[in-house]
């Protein structure tokens, strides 16, 4: 009986710790991603052009990368381009979407 209670308590504790660890990691990713996305959004040109960077890393954390994907926007924003900035760290991703005009060739 006693061993059962200790086993159940231990299992619950380990489960709680795993969940807490995962939660801390997610919170860290959320904080860093918000800052990285805000940084990349600030650096994104007002008008997109061919010279706009589309990917990069965040030194010294090489495991975090960002990428920019540009595609035509749907109605009613059709004259603009939909720019999606994605931050990836480990197996977690976050993204922000903005709409910008494209430089005429």
């Amino acid at each position: 009986m006693a061993s059962m209670i200790v086993s159940v308590a231990g299992a619950l504790l380990v489960g709680g710790l795993v969940a807490a660890n995962r939660s801390t990691d997610l919170r860290l990713h959320q904080i860093l991603s918000a800052q990285w996305l805000a940084n990349q959004l600030a650096l994104l040109d007002d008008v997109l052009s061919d010279s706009t960077s589309t990917s990069g890393t965040f030194l010294p954390l090489d495991d975090a990368t960002w990428a920019l994907a540009v595609e035509p926007a749907d109605d009613p924003l059709k004259p603009l381009m939909k720019a999606t900035i994605t931050v990836t760290r480990k197996d977690l991703t976050s993204h922000v979407v903005t709409y910008r005009p494209v430089a005429e060739p």
């Binding site: 904080i31 805000a38 600030a42 650096l43």
Partner: protein, 228 residues
Amino acid sequence: MWLPIVLWQSHKRGRGPARCPRRVEGLTLVELLLALTLFVVLIGAVAALVIAGTKVQLSWGRSIEPYERLARIMERLQRDMESAQPLYGIPFAVKDGGATLEFARVEPVLGTDGEPTTEWVKVTYRVAAVGDGKALMRDEALWKTGATDVWRSETLAQLASGQFAVAQVDATGALTWTTSWNEPAPQMPAVPRLIKIDCVLPTAQEGHPVSLSRAFRNPAGALLVQSP
């Protein structure tokens, strides 16, 4: 846990109050002491597990505190940047090799007559040497009383290093960063469009320093084209 069961069994075996036996079965003192000891050991083991788990959880929570503090500072810096306005005499300045960022804004303050009024306030962010390390400080001063009369000063965070920079474009259109933006020359925009802070917190996690480079955009500002 055993006590109710055993008592119930002894009552059942007694076959009711009408035929009360001379000797009622029960627990001896040794059995009671043994049960109590086991119960205390069990509760102690569970409590030790819970305390250890709580300590581990708190230590994980503390590991992200520097990041949370940094995020709060960035939000505050962004709000300050958005409210920065050009004022003759207080240009938007980055000086001391990028250690100081200085700008002005209008802020409601309490006047000498006790009535609320609006005043030009000089806001200064500076990376200052404090003890063995550095700290990011934020000062506010009424513009009319001068920089020496700081009426609000806060230490935002301990830093290992920190530097402000302002963006400009060179002749080829490439973005470059300068840590000196202090001359109110006519060709310079009063408020730059892009401002950046590079900072490293003294704490470390998993062997990595907590470093962050964050740019802020002021849509009303302008990019200075660097002369060749």
